[in-house]
């Protein structure tokens, strides 16, 4: 179906044929990447690819990389991952939640290959996980949205009801609530990471119902473009989306993967790689606030940078107790903050969100 996939498949075939002949001591380390969307999505997959390119340049000729884009989550993914492992890749990054089980399965069959799975929670002897503290960016987004909204209703286009998304919805609401006690959040689930038409439909449905700030947990710039069309505002997801909507775009929370990719490959080269559960955010600078719209009011700009700085320095954690869920049950006791393991299993809405998590 996808031409690029065929090209990469052909590349595998050729490279596996040539592999035995070219085995030499100074052969570059082969690193593979599996993306869920097209590298041109200008969102999630695009940023992973930027990280790959930067990592490859960092190591000069010592590393060669391959990527496969548009890989559907599920059985196809396992085939692609297996192909990469078979064709002599030493490290394979699988960059979507739905690649979790396929990665674990493939890892069992190729114990010498190191696997790194983004945003998942299953690890093994040769599988690490890595994730961004996107909730930090979402909190800042919530602060900015809460200050900017005139209707006091902000909208969230959500993909799938998994902890990462639920956690980020909470963070947005907490941020918005901290500056605007009257704020409400409307959530629409679209059941996809990437479908521009549907994402735009969702944005329009939200704006029809009084939402004036659109936040998205999907990967295309369609919601921002929809907001631009109707004179509303929005916040870019995963990469710098400012050029898609010069007026509507408040700022983007950019994922910067290169530092993690460089560090991982260094560890593999040095033989010190161990399976881990890596979390990085503002402090590690793998999450950044970029392209703040100069037309935003000064106090909003100040609030954006000060809330970012507060989280970056560790002075503030969005998930700090006492906190109740929207059923009235205490989820974080006073004086405690959620640790990474607890963060990875957030499946409740914080008090004040008027919605139920779909099953």
């Amino acid at each position: 179906m996808k031409l690029n996939k065929w090209i990469s498949a052909a590349a595998f075939a050729v490279s596996s044929l040539l592999a035995p002949a070219s085995m030499a001591a100074d052969e570059p380390l082969k690193v593979g990447f599996v993306y869920v969307g097209p590298v041109g999505d200008h969102g999630w997959s695009y940023e992973h690819d930027q990280g790959r390119i930067e990592m490859e340049q960092h190591f000069g000729g010592k590393v060669s990389t391959t990527f496969v884009e548009n890989v559907p989550e599920g059985a196809d993914a396992e085939r692609v991952i297996t192909q990469l492992a078979k064709s002599g890749h030493d490290v394979i990054f699988t960059t979507s939640f739905g690649f979790m089980n396929p990665t674990i399965k493939a890892a069992k069959r190729f114990p010498k290959v190191r696997f790194e799975h983004a945003t998942g929670y299953k690890r093994s002897k040769n599988v690490s996980t890595y994730i961004l503290r996107t909730y930090e960016g979402r909190y800042v987004s919530g602060v900015a949205a809460g200050m900017t909204t005139k209707t006091n209703v902000i909208g969230y286009i959500a993909s799938f009801p998994i902890p990462e998304v639920i956690r980020d919805i909470n963070a947005v609401y907490l941020g918005a609530k901290s500056v605007n006690p009257d704020v409400q959040i409307k959530i629409v689930w679209v059941n996809t990471w990437y479908d521009p038409g549907k994402e735009a439909d969702a944005a329009n449905a939200l704006m029809d119902q009084g939402v004036d700030i659109i936040l998205q947990h999907t990967d295309s710039p369609a919601p921002l473009i929809a907001a631009e069309k109707r004179g509303m505002m929005g916040i870019g997801q995963a990469s710098d989306m400012s050029h898609f909507a010069p007026t509507a775009h408040m700022f983007s929370i950019r994922d910067v993967w290169a530092p993690h990719y460089i560090r991982t490959v260094e560890e593999v080269m040095a033989g010190s790689w161990k399976p881990e559960d890596y979390w990085g955010g503002f402090a590690e600078e793998i999450l950044q606030v970029v392209s703040v719209n100069p037309t935003l009011p000064e106090e909003v700009k100040t609030a954006i940078s000060s809330s970012e700085a507060k989280i970056k320095s560790g002075q503030f954690h969005p998930f700090t107790g006492p906190m109740k869920d929207n059923q009235g049950k205490e989820v974080i006791p006073a004086g405690k903050t959620l640790n990474d393991k607890e963060l990875a299993s957030v499946m409740w809405y914080v008090e004040g969100i008027d919605a139920t998590i779909p099953k």
Binding site: G40, N191, G197
Partner: protein
């Protein structure tokens, strides 16, 4: 349900239904002549890509539309050459066209990903758009939506009220009789297939220049397939097709709106709605095989061999 919400759903349904309407209208013309072209998705994607490219490089949206139609017709031309001149199997050729179109559009459009154009803007028709309820519903759209209204009227008129329509239907019902009467069957089918391609291209351009003004790989996301079932849904009648397209629009928009007003239903269930609607409609239609048989062009998907007499 309050009136305002009802109106919003209908307006959104018209916007969502328009690409389906355009591509299905083209397929209807094509099937009326007895040719089944399953390549709608491929033609739409090529149209979306070419339309965006045209508008992006020239800065002229009208030129984009023109290119989109030409791209759709070129794709349809390949199909016509294979299936009408070389008598290949229409189903297989159509499927191949879809696969070819989605791959080729991704390949040719790779450098356009991430570019933006200023898409079509809604034009409120003076006076008419001030009519309560009906005004915003029908008279505050962009030119492509108005165009789709006009095209529906033209297609209805041509198919049902003109000699050309009679010829088209004759070729679709019994090409050999038509041939005996001196009608050039292959020529008529060529015109029908190429018209279908132009409509599909236009539908693609609606996606990339109005609905979500950008180009991305596979951005039509299966709308070409829904259009194919719409033609069956409409029992090959232009009027029903329009109703069907907007019904599908409602089905795909409703779950987003419902969630916004606070209904919690499983997103998986909701996302199924357009497809469930397709299946239900198919079941209802096929429950009456006689009507089904009467509605479908008799020679649909059957190749015409002029040497046979």
């Amino acid at each position: 349900m309050d009136m305002e919400l009802f109106q919003q759903i209908l307006v959104a349904a018209i916007k969502t239904g328009t690409p389906l309407l355009l591509v299905a209208l083209g397929e209807l013309i094509c099937e009326k002549s007895g040719v089944l072209n399953l390549g709608q998705e491929g033609m739409m994607l090529m149209g979306a890509m070419a339309g965006f490219a045209g508008a992006y490089f020239s800065g002229n949206l009208a030129l984009g539309l023109l290119l989109a139609m030409v791209a759709g017709m070129m794709m349809a031309g390949i199909f016509a050459l294979l299936s009408l001149n070389l008598n290949t199997n229409q189903v297989a050729t159509g499927l191949a066209l879809t696969i070819f179109g989605s791959g080729l559009s991704a390949f040719l459009g790779a450098s356009l990903v991430g570019s933006t154009v200023n898409g079509f803007k809604p034009i409120a028709i003076p006076l008419l758009s001030d009519i309560p309820f009906v005004g915003p519903l029908l008279f505050n759209h962009d030119i492509l939506v108005y165009g789709s209204f006009v095209l529906v009227a033209i297609c209805w008129w041509v198919v049902n009220k003109t000699r050309a329509g009679l010829t088209l239907r004759a070729v679709g019902e019994n090409p050999y009789s038509a041939n005996a009467l001196g009608i050039k069957v292959i020529k008529v089918r060529y015109i029908a297939v190429l018209t279908g391609g132009a409509f599909a291209g236009l539908a693609g351009a609606y996606m990339s220049l109005s609905y979500t003004p950008m180009w991305m790989e596979n951005m039509t996301a299966g709308r070409g397939w829904i259009a194919l079932s719409l033609v069956v849904f409409a029992s090959w009648r232009v009027g029903y097709l329009m109703v069907g397209a907007y019904l599908f629009g409602v089905a795909s928009i409703l779950h987003l709106v419902m969630q916004g007003i606070g209904f919690t239903i499983s997103p998986n269930l909701l996302a199924m709605m357009p497809y469930v609607a397709t299946i239900v409609v198919m079941v209802i239609i096929s429950s009456n095989p006689i009507r089904q048989k009467l509605a479908a062009p008799m020679s649909l998907a059957k190749p015409f061999d002029s040497r046979r007499h």
